[in-house]
């Protein structure tokens, strides 16, 4: 259209109406707006970069240190190794039996993750859908356990694990029966309040109609759970799986308390053993740390999509 003869503002409006120019972005758009936008974007990116750096630099330094010699680690700051070496990794595997620790961690984290998936989904379904007396109070009690720090539960749990094996176990021939070992670590973490909470919240988002349809389709409680609800809870199961695996894989507290036999040590305890009274063996310590991150990273990359959906859904409905 011809806008030559029109006053400037009207011309821009006419063009905008025609779709030839967006309002405000014409030759005489709002002065300074574009620059303000650019400044705002620059500030936002700077802040994001700084926050990202805050997390990334320690990680990069870990990787860098794992490829140094011990002498290099004490020779002052440098982001990259002065002499690249894989001796840290070699040492982690051969001197400190990193392979064994990895297997132990995998057994413990795997067992706890599996039991959390099974028990939290059953329990979460019950808390979300079954009507039984005291349901809300019980759920509050479960959530309440999140407020008790592990340090406070240490002594009672330790005493329970020591004393709760009945005497007859010894009489039937299991003389060295004990839960102060890997079994104990698994036993006390079979299901967590966080997992139960996540599963419950997710089940609450699944329409009740589906369960009623299943009820009319002659499915009992357990069949409804297994055939209808569980297949729909993928995102929540992914979230519980990742959080539990990552938590137990990295856990130091309970393994340090309960694992007394070196053959049952997990990676975090193994890593802690690189640290002596007068010296820390930084290269093997960092090499073990880098290796320990790999499984978590892989799992997160594979299931990230479901994980985000699961956590988001749990947060939507209270």
């Amino acid at each position: 259209m011809d806008v030559e003869g029109l006053p400037p503002t009207q011309a821009v409006e006419e063009l905008a109406l025609e779709g030839e120019a967006a309002a405000g972005s014409g030759a005489r758009g709002i002065p300074g707006r574009e620059r303000a936008d650019r400044v705002r974007t620059a500030i936002a990116y700077t802040v994001m970069f700084l926050v990202a750096a805050l997390f990334a630099i320690p990680f990069l330094w870990t990787v860098s240190t794992s490829f140094r010699t011990l002498a290099d680690t004490v020779a002052g700051f440098s982001l990259l190794p002065r002499h690249w070496t894989t001796s840290g990794y070699h040492e982690a595997f051969h001197t400190f039996n990193f392979g064994r620790y990895t297997l132990n961690s995998a057994i413990i984290a795997g067992a706890i993750t599996l039991s959390n998936l099974v028990l939290a989904s059953i329990g979460g379904y019950a808390f979300a859908r079954l009507r039984f007396p005291g349901r809300e109070v019980l759920f509050m009690l479960v959530l309440g356990t999140l407020m008790i720090p592990d340090q406070l539960r240490l002594v009672p749990i330790y005493l329970m694990l020591v004393n709760w094996i009945p005497a007859w176990v010894g009489h039937v021939g299991w003389h060295d029966a004990s839960f102060v070992n890997r079994d104990g670590v698994i036993l006390i973490q079979l299901v967590s309040a966080t997992s139960l909470f996540l599963m419950r919240q997710y089940f609450l988002t699944i329409p009740r109609d589906l369960e009623e349809a299943a009820k009319l389709d002659a499915a009992g409680y357990f069949k409804t759970y297994r055939k209808v609800m569980l297949p729909l809870a993928g995102p929540a199961l992914a979230a519980v799986g990742i959080l539990t695996f990552q938590g137990t894989w990295n856990a130091l507290f309970w393994p340090a308390v309960l694992l007394q036999d070196k053959s049952q040590y997990t990676i975090p305890i193994g890593i802690a053993s690189f640290h002596f009274a007068y010296q820390t063996l930084w290269p093997p310590l960092m090499a073990a740390s880098v290796l320990a991150i790999v499984p978590i990273l892989l799992i997160f990359i594979l299931f990230q999509r479901y994980f985000v959906a699961g956590v988001a859904a749990a947060g939507v409905k209270g």
């Binding site: 589906l210 349809a213 009319l216 002659a218 055939k227 209808v228």
Partner: protein, 339 residues
């Protein structure tokens, strides 16, 4: 197939009564529509029949079996949900077969029944798809299919058309009717849409605030509504309900006069109708007719008039309602009174 009886059924949630002393007999093979505004208790009545809500008082019978304490799956009914409630992770085939498998029906029998239902509903091509790969209309048909394969004593339908667009709704309405007539299964159909009720039901039960207002065939409810609520609820556009003072000569004190927009005529002088003048506010052109919004003595009146008449806003019209089409209601009790 079986009859269904609500025998003085009441449902309370805490202090609130959702359904009060509900008495209704649905004969074998009948298509009964429960209709009313939201919150009137129609869905609760249906859910009690399905066994999804417990009955607080009274009895529900399917055939001559009292089902109050019988689990939903043993009541031999099938329900179509408003949301369809299809299992999202299962194929159409599995959705249809799920109930039969749970009932331990023989595999070959399941296959026969599922394929027959799929044929009836034209789902043959879609049998391997999952619900998210289907259109709204197709999902609706799968939901119906899930009810059909059960071969139940009664179909329970809870607003099954409300998620469809207007055109598809009209089409599916006819399909459900055809299906029900072919199968001859007793059907209880819940809707808030009086047009759906009028077009589908052998009989209609109108509910308000948990109380049954009137039961009868559509014509009866249309011609002889028992009270003001039914008069105003059934029919589209709604019946004109005006104080008798607005219509000179309608007669009576403390009465409300009711007449349908389609019964209003342009007065041609004489006749035995009740004549009145009214001022035209707005004219809605409907194609074959025009809906004229009028006011008389500050009261709104609607009239459906032939399109041949040239009517414009602001015009004063002389109108009439035939005496035999005029209904009178008591303003206090809201019940219809005969003159």
């Amino acid at each position: 197939m079986a009859s269904v009886t609500y025998d003085h059924v009441t449902k309370t949630f805490g202090d609130t009564s959702a359904v009060k002393d509900f008495l209704l007999e649905i004969t074998d093979g009948e298509f009964m529509v429960l209709v009313g505004p939201s919150g009137c208790g129609k869905s609760t009545a249906l859910r009690m029949l399905a066994g999804l809500e417990k009955v607080s008082d009274g009895r529900i019978l399917i055939g001559d079996r009292v089902v109050n304490n019988i689990a939903p799956q043993h009541r031999d009914i099938a329900m179509v949900f408003q949301s369809y409630a299809l299992y999202p992770h299962m194929t159409v085939y599995d959705n249809l077969a799920f109930g039969l498998r749970n009932q331990k029906v023989a595999k070959s029998d399941i296959d026969t029944r599922v394929r027959r239902a799929a044929d009836i509903l034209d789902l043959g091509q879609l049998i391997k798809r999952k619900p998210k790969q289907l259109s709204g209309g197709q999902r609706q048909r799968v939901a119906l299919g899930r009810a059909i394969v059960r071969e139940p004593e009664a179909f329970l339908m809870d607003e099954p058309l409300s998620n469809l667009d207007a055109k598809l709704r009209v089409q599916t309405r006819a399909e459900i009717l055809k299906l029900q007539q072919a199968l001859g299964t007793t059907t209880i159909y819940v809707t808030h849409d009086q047009v759906e009720a009028m077009t589908m039901g052998d009989r209609i039960a109108v509910m308000k605030l948990g109380v049954l207002q009137q039961v009868g065939p559509p014509e009866e409810l249309y011609r002889e509504p028992r009270n003001l609520f039914v008069a105003g609820f059934i029919g589209s556009p709604a019946m004109n309900l005006v104080p008798v003072e607005v219509l000179d000569g309608a007669g009576g004190q403390g009465r409300v006069a009711g007449f349908r927009p389609e019964h209003v005529e342009l007065a041609s002088g004489g006749g035995n109708g009740i004549g009145f003048d009214a001022r035209v506010e707005v004219v809605e052109y409907l194609g074959d007719e025009q809906l004229v919004h009028l006011t008389r003595k500050d009261t709104a009146i609607q009239a459906k008039l032939p399109v041949e008449e040239q009517i414009g806003s602001g015009q004063e019209l002389k109108l009439a309602v035939p005496r035999d089409k005029l209904l009178l209601f008591d303003a206090d009790t809201e019940e219809r009174v005969t003159v």
